[in-house]
């Protein structure tokens, strides 16, 4: 399944106002990318070729292969996982107190500057 993102010109933020997300991969590779508001941190990673976010199920919170460790300074703003997501975290590895499934984090203006780290292994 896949969805086509519909961003009409009237509501699409301009480049200058787009929030930025930084992905630090296990091997140290760092990507700072612009994210669309409303897109998930997983989708943003996929559009920007952050390879260590697998997202096998395409974002339906059913595979636990898009795990990220949210930077501790950001965790409070991002918030804790829902009960459903917490259940799925059981299928992930090396889960930390600040771990989230990136398909369940929606980018907002408040998350401009967000830093997440990706694990070495997503289960495949």
């Amino acid at each position: 399944m896949s969805d086509v993102q519909d961003v009409s010109p009237a509501t699409a933020p301009t480049k200058e106002t787009m929030p930025k997300v930084t992905y630090i991969e296990h091997d140290g590779a760092t990507h700072t990318v612009e994210a669309e508001i409303g897109a998930t941190v997983m989708e943003t990673a996929q559009r920007n070729n952050v390879a260590s976010i697998v997202a096998e199920c395409g974002g339906s919170c059913t595979c636990a292969t898009c795990l990220v460790h949210v930077d501790e300074t950001w965790f409070e703003k991002v918030g804790p996982p829902s009960a459903e997501e917490e259940d799925m975290l059981d299928f992930a590895f090396e889960v930390k107190p600040t771990s989230r499934l990136s398909c369940q984090i929606k980018v907002t203006q408040e998350l401009d500057g967000l830093v997440v780290r990706t694990p070495a292994y997503q289960g495949r």
Binding site: M1, S60, T62, C63, D87, L89, F91, A120, R124
Partner: protein, 341 residues
């Protein structure tokens, strides 16, 4: 050695696209056997999102993965396909023009004029926990499935996970194990509440152990586990064990498809868009596993691919017959096949 099963078409993968292919083939009097590694039909719809909504099936505004699978099973009922579940296709060889021999990990052999690969993202296989040095223990004392319960009799078992598989096997194996320890990363379980209660009662009665933490180190030699280190919140605990059963769900791996001599493009099978046939005539690939210019990984695309595949497959199954295109709305002959005329 089992008898060879002879059929028109072997479909590898019983996901939505493989199921609908049965319909399109059936209308053309082509019989099919389906083989799937899962213990149920429906593929990703059944394994990944049985309860999740799908909004983009034409004519069906809303359906769940489970609902779509059920509906497809109803739709293909008149064609009486044969299912081989819990079974992985391991070998595929060309033995005629076209004729193929298909072998499975359960030792079944099929001969078919046409093979349709509808394997989606590959085969679902258990997730392997990233414990350093786990490989030599796998299938010796670390098992991702229980095929014979008796293999665990009088053993000290470590079961890892918090879902229904982990809980069910805990309850099933606890009576015959020497000692059973369940390890889970948190003191909450998403499995069925009844199973959770039964497990907690066993722990309270002292008949099994529950440890909260993650397995980080394995000890042992020559594939035989001796102990595991469990890292809890504050401390690391060593638990002696003879076998470990991790249950972390399934992940899709391409699997043996890569070994069948098919042209591959980054884990996908390139096909033509007239019949969705691979570089080997008689072998087709439909659904998420194929690639062609403009490919969309949508269930509806897979349905279309199956319909066109069936037209070409007809010529391999019935080389001397002419195919007349017909509609189910008006053709008495098709309606007879569907059991409605």
């Amino acid at each position: 050695m089992s008898e060879t099963i002879k059929t028109d078409v072997v479909i590898i993968g019983a996901g939505p696209v493989g199921l609908f292919a049965v319909f399109e083939l059936g209308l053309l009097d082509i019989k099919a056997h389906l083989i799937d590694i899962l213990d149920k039909v429906g593929g990703q719809c059944a394994e990944l999102y049985p309860e999740k909504p799908i909004y983009d099936i034409p004519g069906i505004p809303f359906v769940t993965g489970h609902g779509l699978t059920e509906a497809l099973m109803e739709q293909i009922k008149p064609f009486n396909p044969t299912f081989h579940l819990n079974e992985m296709v391991t070998t595929l060889e060309k033995i005629g023009d076209p004729l193929f021999r298909v072998g499975t990990d359960r030792g079944k052999i099929f001969e078919a004029k046409v093979v349709v690969i509808g394997a989606g993202g590959g085969s679902f296989q258990p997730k392997r926990p990233p414990i350093p040095g786990i490989e030599p223990y796998e299938n010796k004392s670390v098992h991702y499935a229980v095929r014979k319960m008796d293999a665990f009799r009088d053993k000290r078992l470590l079961i890892v996970g918090g879902g229904d598989s982990a809980l069910d096997w805990t309850l099933n194996l606890q009576p015959i194990a020497k000692r059973l320890t369940l390890v889970h990363r948190r003191d909450e379980f998403r499995g069925a509440p009844d199973s959770v209660n039964k497990m907690r009662a066993l722990v309270a009665a002292g008949d099994m152990d529950l440890k909260i933490g993650q397995v980080t180190v394995l000890e042992g030699a020559d594939g035989q586990l001796a102990a595991a280190a469990i890292k809890g919140k504050d401390a690391v605990e060593r638990v002696e064990c003879d076998a470990m059963l991790p249950f972390f769900g399934l992940t899709m791996k391409l699997g043996p498809v890569a070994d069948w001599g098919l042209k591959m493009d980054d884990e996908l099978i390139p096909v033509d868009t007239a019949a969705f046939e691979t570089n080997i005539p008689g072998i087709f690939a439909i659904g998420d596993i194929n690639t062609y210019p403009g490919k969309l990984k949508l269930i509806l695309s897979g349905f279309h691919e199956g319909a066109l595949m069936a037209q070409k497959a007809y010529h391999y199954v019935y080389p001397d017959k002419r195919l007349v295109f017909q509609y189910t709305t008006s053709s008495t002959s098709l309606q007879k096949k569907l059991g409605v005329a």
